[in-house]
C-alpha cells in the first residue's frame, strides 16, 4: 500500500491533487464496504462523503510512513455505527425487483460500464446479499471485511476495533449463519424470492 502512503503524505503536505488520487484509489473499495453494510446506495454514498470529510479534518493525526487504509476504514466503520445509532434506520430490503432503489447496480458493487458482463449467478448473488442483510451488524461486517473485501482477520479486527479472536468468532458465526440462510434459499424453488 505504498501508493496510499505516498498520496496521504503528499495530501498532508497540501497537495489537493494527491487527495483526489487517494479518493479515486480508496473510495470504490470503501463504498463497496459501506454498500454491503447499509444495503442502501444513497446512504452508503452519504457515509462515504462523511468519512472523507472526517479524514480531511483529522489529517493532522496521520503518522508519516503509516498505512492510512486501516485508519480510513475505521473512520468509515465509526461513521456507519454512529449513523445507525443516530437514526436506527430500517435496513432497506432489496430482495425483490420492485423494491430496488434508485441505483440498483451499485448494490452488488457493479460499476455502470461493467454491468452487462456475465459473472456468477445474479439470483444467487442477490440471495447472498439478502442473507448478508439478515446478519447482526458485527457478523455482517466481519464477513464483508474478511470474505468479500479480502482483508486479513488482523486487519479486519483493527478496522472494527476488536480483538483478532473476537473477529475470528464473528466471521465464523457470520459465515455459518450465511451458509444456513443460503442453504434455505437454495432449497426453495427457482424464483421463490426472499
Amino acid at each position: 500500500m505504498a501508493e496510499a502512503r505516498d498520496l496521504m503524505q503528499r495530501y498532508c503536505d497540501g497537495d489537493a491533487g494527491a487527495f483526489r488520487e487517494l479518493y479515486a484509489l480508496v473510495a470504490p473499495k470503501l463504498l463497496g464496504y459501506l454498500v454491503k453494510m447499509t444495503r442502501e446506495r444513497a446512504l452508503a454514498d452519504d457515509l462515504l462523503q462523511q468519512t472523507f470529510l472526517k479524514v480531511h479534518r483529522a489529517r493532522a493525526a496521520y503518522v508519516r510512513g503509516a498505512d492510512p487504509l486501516p485508519w480510513i476504514y475505521s473512520i468509515a466503520h465509526r461513521t456507519f455505527i454512529d449513523e445507525t445509532r443516530k437514526h436506527r434506520r430500517a435496513v432497506v430490503r432489496v430482495g425483490e425487483v420492485e423494491e430496488l432503489p434508485e441505483v440498483p447496480a451499485g448494490l452488488t458493487g457493479e460499476s455502470e460500464d461493467r454491468r452487462d458482463e456475465v459473472r456468477g449467478d445474479p439470483e444467487m448473488m442477490r440471495a447472498a446479499l439478502d442473507a448478508l442483510a439478515e446478519l447482526p451488524a458485527q457478523q455482517r461486517e466481519a464477513v464483508v471485511l474478511t470474505k468479500l473485501d479480502g482483508k486479513s482477520v488482523a486487519e479486519a479486527a483493527e478496522i472494527a476495533g476488536t480483538t483478532v479472536g473476537a473477529m475470528k468468532v464473528r466471521a465464523h458465526r457470520g459465515y455459518e449463519a450465511l451458509r444456513r440462510l443460503l442453504g434455505k434459499s437454495e432449497a426453495r424453488p427457482a424464483g421463490g424470492g426472499s
Binding site: 479518493y23 473499495k29 446506495r41 472526517k54 479534518r57 496521520y62 456468477g120 468479500l148 443460503l182
Partner: protein
C-alpha cells in the same frame, strides 16, 4: 459458498464525485504538521516528570525516607514509574506502520497497572521510625492524598488528550483509560515520595486507588475530545 465468492469478485462500485463541502475545504488546503508520536511521548513524559518533581518539592519529601529500606523504596518507585510509562506509551504511540495507537494493549495495561499497584500497596508497606499508621481511618481520611494524586494525573492526561485530539475512530475509551492509569501512576509515585503513612490499606487503596479513579475519569471524559468527528 459460491455466491459469496461471486460477490467478492465483483468490481467495486463507482464512487460519487467529491462532495461540495469537501471541495470547498480542498480549495483552501494547506500543509499540516502530522502527528509525531515519539516526539509527543518524549514531551509528555518530560513535562509530566518535571511537574511531578515540582509537586514533590512543593509538598515536601516524606520525613521517614532515610529510615525506609532502600530496596523497597527504589523497587516500589520503579513499579510506579513503570505504571506511568507503559500505559502512556501504549496510549500514544502506534505500532510501526500504523496510524492508531495500541488501544487494546493500553486498556490491558490500565487494568493491570491498577490491580498490580493496588495489590503492591496492600501487601508491601514497610514502615520507618517516623512513619505513622492510620488503618481504616487512613482510608477514610485519604482524600488529601487522593486529591494530590489526581492533581498529578491531570498533566499527563491533558497533554495526551491534546496530542490525540480528534485522531481516534475506535478504542478511544481504552486509550483514555491508558492515559488516566499512566497519570494516576505518576500520582502514585509522587505520593510514594511524599506521604509517610505506612499502613497497607492507605497505600493500597488510596495511593493505588488514584490509578483506578484517574483511569475511570479519563475513560468517561477524554473520548469526547479524542474521537474523530
Amino acid at each position: 459458498m459460491s455466491a459469496l465468492d461471486d460477490l467478492s469478485k465483483l468490481p467495486p462500485p463507482a464512487p460519487p464525485p467529491i462532495s461540495p463541502a469537501l471541495e470547498a475545504e480542498l480549495a483552501q488546503l494547506r500543509p499540516v504538521a502530522t502527528r509525531r508520536p515519539l516526539r509527543q511521548l518524549a514531551l509528555l513524559i518530560a513535562v509530566s516528570l518535571v511537574y511531578g518533581a515540582g509537586l514533590i518539592a512543593m509538598l515536601t519529601v516524606r520525613g521517614d525516607m532515610h529510615e525506609l529500606p532502600m530496596g523497597w523504596l527504589v523497587s516500589a518507585g520503579l513499579a510506579w514509574l513503570l505504571g506511568f510509562l507503559v500505559p502512556i506509551t501504549l496510549a500514544t504511540v502506534p505500532r510501526p506502520g500504523s496510524v492508531m495507537p495500541r488501544w487494546q494493549l493500553a486498556g490491558i495495561a490500565s487494568v493491570v497497572a491498577s490491580i498490580a499497584l493496588i495489590g503492591l500497596g496492600l501487601v508491601l508497606h514497610p514502615a520507618g521510625e517516623h512513619s505513622y499508621e492510620l488503618g481504616w481511618q487512613g482510608v477514610v481520611r485519604g482524600y488529601g492524598c487522593l486529591a494530590n494524586g489526581l492533581e498529578t494525573a491531570i498533566v499527563p492526561v491533558v497533554l495526551g488528550t491534546i496530542f490525540l485530539r480528534r485522531t481516534l475512530p475506535i478504542g478511544s475509551r481504552w486509550i483514555a483509560a491508558g492515559l488516566g492509569a499512566g497519570g494516576g501512576s505518576l500520582g502514585g509515585l509522587v505520593l510514594h515520595l511524599h506521604c509517610p503513612v505506612a499502613d497497607g490499606l492507605h497505600v493500597g487503596l488510596i495511593h493505588g486507588g488514584v490509578i483506578a479513579i484517574a483511569a475511570l475519569l479519563a475513560a468517561a471524559l477524554v473520548p469526547r475530545v479524542t474521537e474523530v468527528r
